[in-house]
Amino acid sequence: MASSSSSSAVTERRGIPGSQFVEDVQTYLNQLGLDVNSALAFLQERLQQYKVVEMKLLAQQRELQAKIPDIEKCLEVVATLQAKKGTGEELITDFEVSEGIYSRASIEETDSVCLWLGANVMLEYSLEEATALLQKNLDNARASLEVLVADLLFLRDQTTITQVTIARVYNWDVHQRRTQQVAATAIAQE
């Protein structure tokens, strides 16, 4: 077995503390200066904290996963307008005025499109600029999602390590008691 304990773990990733891998339970408890029960309580608390962070990250992930198709949709619309450019044709569309009510609009050849930037601001862009801006937003969103997914993977590892450690501390304790009991009965029999 390779004992590569030194390379064992990243200590932290974007504010998420790493979980220490325990080589030997006895040494670990001595280091912490805790008995089995307090060590288990400590680990359980840590596990809870990881769960809270996981919830937060999962919510962020869902948000981004919804945002990406939205941006893609916008890009598709701009691309449609761009394709119509130079053909002299107008683009006829049915659009929703209010829920369930649709009206017809004809869009004449256009060079520009307005993008909703948020915070009650809408800005007119040329089709090229709009594409560039949307593409940049899309790239950013995808990059953040990637980082987020990596965060989640890291977090899951820490959760797993903590769970394994809890099981090991528990098992170690059971084993310890058993040996003590065997020893005690052996003494009593003497």
Partner: protein, 165 residues
Amino acid sequence: MQQGGGSETEVTWEDQQNINKFGRLNNRLHELHDEIKIAKSFPEKHRLPPLKPPIPTASPLQTTPPYPPPVRHIPAAQREANDNLEDASNELILTDEEVVRFQIGEVFAHVPKDEVESRIEQMQEATSQKLEKLEEEKKSVVAQMSELKKILYGKFGESINLEED
């Protein structure tokens, strides 16, 4: 993790890393299941019911063309699911309208039938490729998991539980 066995098998960092890896793979497998389901056919319970055929108008005096059937917003994931694209292309063959309404973003653009046909074909192509990639990844994940199972069960036997409930 099974508790209470009081097992004496030592857990090394290497074992821990294998367990972590197994956890990651298992998680990814679940994600893949969902993604594949969505790409194949959008889950039934989230689907909107099919449109009722328009009620034929009795009045022969009607001069304006019948009002187009109601239109609805359908989530992108559903629109791009393989089954739905197939439905769409079948409907397209049946219709005798030259211009159909094709949803782009939030609006329905009036697009010539031929163009819609080719667009749907492209979308079908993209979805099939995506599905293929997902299936491939699933295969590799399953293979890696069974490899890890062999190693971990080999070492820990009954003291470890790697099965889903």
